[in-house]
């Protein structure tokens, strides 16, 4: 299946991919980001239960320096 | 909505008494005078600076309002009153001829003023809702709004909903004077009636502004207690109203009790010099505030003060209901006027000083509901 991760297509080979697993594979600590799945914010305690579907839009967002 | 709260009256007095010449000098040069500067300007320490204060007050007044003096006239609708107030001619316990004008009679009075050239009238009544209620005021406003640019009222305190109703009917401004900001004294001079509720009255200007009125007038009777502390309280009330209701203009009136036969004697004398210091001080404190000087004051004083701070004068006033139709009748007056000149004479005096007498700065016909 294919998802759109931060605007870029990404092919997922693993079955039953979840948000938690995606973060783990990317090496991103869950506490450092906000996850938006199809424009809905996913609460951290739901990461493990949020499975990804084909064509899902996933946004991983975090704070950066800014004024 | 946060309510207006005032420090203890004695604390206000103390603040003023603590002001020194240095404080006054600082207040005179500061760009944006604050409440402590006002305290200094109305303190005894500022008395030697009165001419300088007058000069600055005149400059600020001309800068903000131009070389103009606005004119208005009161129409007394009714002298029925359910309150007993020690200082007032309309007090319920006074034996005077009582009268409440019918709508037609009120309209006749208004037409007389209209023919004299007035565009701004102030509808005044004693505080008796069985004589003058919201429906009555609403009816008068609807009758008169086409003929006058501005219609102010000075009646009993009303609710925000009632003020909204009156605004829709064409009332543009409401004056409600606290009489005194000294709570203890307030209890002593307001003997009975709804007016005994100090806080309800204190919160009235906020209700007026919340209803969307273009202007709210505040004031204190001068002669009941320390005028300096009353002045500082007025300044605090004014500043609070400005911050809280930025789109309602504020005016201040200076009803000064004068010694007169058979009338309530001032508890504390307030001289013309004192009154002038208060007017100049408030002008320096707030260059935008409208300052009213009524016909309570004598012609000599009013002429002298033209352009020095006040922005609005009443003229040719009669303070009894129906007084314009029956000029010989003086029974039932609220107070006897100090400046007895006709409006023509006042206009000439204003022009002679190089000022433009103006009858309006707005037309209530343009008024829309917000």
């Amino acid at each position: 299946m294919q998802i759109h991760l931060n605007g870029t297509p990404k092919t997922i080979t693993t079955e039953s991919m979840t948000v938690a697993r995606l973060l783990q594979e990317l090496g991103i600590p869950a506490a450092s980001v906000v996850v938006e799945l199809n424009k809905t914010i996913i609460q951290p305690d739901c990461y493990a239960a949020s499975s990804l579907q084909n064509n899902d839009q996933v946004e991983l967002i975090r704070f950066v320096g800014g004024g | 909505m946060t309510l207006f709260t005032l420090p203890d009256f004695q604390q206000l007095q103390q603040t003023i008494q603590n002001c020194t010449t240095t404080d006054v000098e600082q207040a005179l040069i500061t760009k944006n005078p604050g409440i402590h500067d006002l305290a200094a300007l109305i303190s005894p320490a500022a008395e030697p600076f009165l001419p300088e204060m007058a000069r600055r007050s005149a400059f600020l007044t001309a800068q903000r309002f131009g070389r103009t003096t606005q004119l208005y006239a009161p129409i007394y609708l009714s002298n029925y009153c359910t309150n007993r107030c020690a200082y007032c001619g309309f007090s319920a316990s006074n034996r005077i001829a009582r009268r409440c004008l019918t709508l037609d009679e009120a309209e006749i009075e208004a037409n007389i003023l209209h023919d004299r050239g007035f565009q701004h009238i102030l509808l005044v009544s004693g505080e008796a809702e069985n004589a003058v209620d919201v429906a009555y005021l609403e009816a008068i406003a609807r009758r008169l709004r086409g003929r006058f640019a501005a219609i102010s009222i000075e009646v009993q305190p009303l609710s925000t909903a009632d003020y909204t109703r009156l605004f829709k009917a064409g009332i543009t401004a409401v004056a409600v004077y606290q009489e005194t900001y000294n709570q203890d004294l307030y209890k002593q001079v307001h003997l009975s009636g709804k007016k005994t509720d100090y806080h309800y009255r204190l919160e009235t200007p906020a209700r007026v502004a919340a209803a969307g009125m273009r202007e709210v007038g505040i004031g204190a009777l001068l002669g009941l207690t320390d005028w300096r502390a009353e002045g500082l309280a007025l300044g605090l009330h004014l500043a609070w109203l400005r911050k809280t209701f930025w789109n309602t203009a504020v005016t201040v009136s200076f009803p000064r009790l004068r010694p007169a036969a058979g009338a309530f004697a001032p508890l504390v004398p307030v001289s013309e010099k004192n009154l002038s210091q208060l007017i100049f001080g408030l002008r320096l404190f707030d260059p935008d505030v409208g300052l009213l000087l009524s016909t309570r004051e004598e012609a000599r004083y009013r002429d002298g003060m033209l352009g020095l701070g006040p922005t609005r004068y009443s003229a040719g006033s009669c303070t009894a209901p129906g007084g314009y139709s029956n000029p010989d009748q003086t029974d039932g007056e609220q107070f006897s006027v100090g400046d007895q000149r006709t409006v023509e004479e006042v206009i000439l005096a204003i022009a002679a000083k190089g000022f433009d007498p103006v009858s309006k700065d707005w037309d209530s016909a343009f008024q829309t509901e917000r």
């Binding site: 424009k39 704070f63 | 600082q26 944006n32 001289s271």
Partner: protein
């Protein structure tokens, strides 16, 4: 001055210097500059994680015990985008602080007053502590205050221009009228600009570029802290007014003044 504290959204600040965290050469320099500035409020922006560099996390460099985090909505071009960013910011920060920025014109990055007012009203309803970035328009400041903004942040000059307080006259009116704190934001290019804003009576200033791109950002942060404190102290002390004409330090009573001979 222990009594002279600033309160915004129920939180009390000792320092009246707010710091932006953009454009620093490294997290280490930023961290040191924040410490040197004494700031208790830092702004941060929200961006997509750089998937090629996923370890780059500003939060590691910032101490949330010392500073309130003020996420901004930079990049938003309308109210809708700003509101989406605001909710993301709340999820990311766990708090409701928000610096609302709506800048549709990428050239000037000037804030859109209509969209800003709309977004402020909606975000206040959603429970955010909203500090809108705005042009120095006094009526807009009052309208934002009326819909519940916790403070207003008028610009001194367009962001990043280092031009100083070009809007001084308007900002003075805003300071005079506002019930909420006024934080002068954008365009402050030198400590003297910050001092001027504080002398005028601003409640705080927000500085970013002038510190982050200085030759020595840490020393510059210190300089700004001193300037803000000096300006504030001067304001509290009561500034004399400046006029075109000379004002005698000793007042001229009696002379050149209005004749009050009419008084009884």
């Amino acid at each position: 001055m222990l009594t002279d504290m600033l309160t915004i959204g129920g939180h009390t600040f000792n320092s009246r210097l707010f710091l932006g965290t953009g454009k620093f050469s490294s997290s280490a320099v930023m961290k040191e500059a924040i410490a040197a500035s004494g700031t208790e409020m830092v702004t941060v922006a929200l961006r997509r994680v750089d998937l090629n560099n996923p370890e780059d996390d500003i939060m590691i460099a910032l101490d949330r015990k010392k500073c309130v985090f003020l996420p901004n909505t930079s990049g938003a071009r309308n109210a809708e985008e700003a509101i989406r960013l605001a909710h993301l910011a709340r999820a990311a920060s766990g708090s409701s602080w928000l610096k609302l920025e709506v800048t549709p014109d990428p050239r000037t990055l000037l804030p859109d007053p209509v969209e800003t007012l709309k977004a402020t009203a909606e975000l206040v309803r959603a429970g955010f502590i909203v500090l809108p970035y705005m042009n120095a328009d006094p009526i807009l400041a009052l309208r934002l205050q009326d819909v519940g903004a916790a403070a207003v942040m008028p610009l001194g000059s367009p962001i990043g221009t280092n031009q100083g307080i070009l809007t001084a006259f308007q900002i003075e009116i805003i300071i005079d009228q506002a019930r909420v704190p006024v934080v002068v934001d954008a365009g402050i290019g030198a400590p003297s600009h910050a001092a001027l804003a504080m002398e005028m009576g601003a409640d705080a200033v927000l500085v970013n570029t002038a510190i982050s791109v200085a030759g020595d950002p840490v020393a510059m942060a210190r300089a700004f802290a001193q300037a803000v404190e000096a300006g504030r102290t001067a304001f509290v002390a009561g500034m004399g007014s400046r006029g075109k004409q000379a004002q005698a330090s000793s007042p001229l009573t009696g002379t050149l003044a209005t004749d009050l001979g009419f008084l009884a």
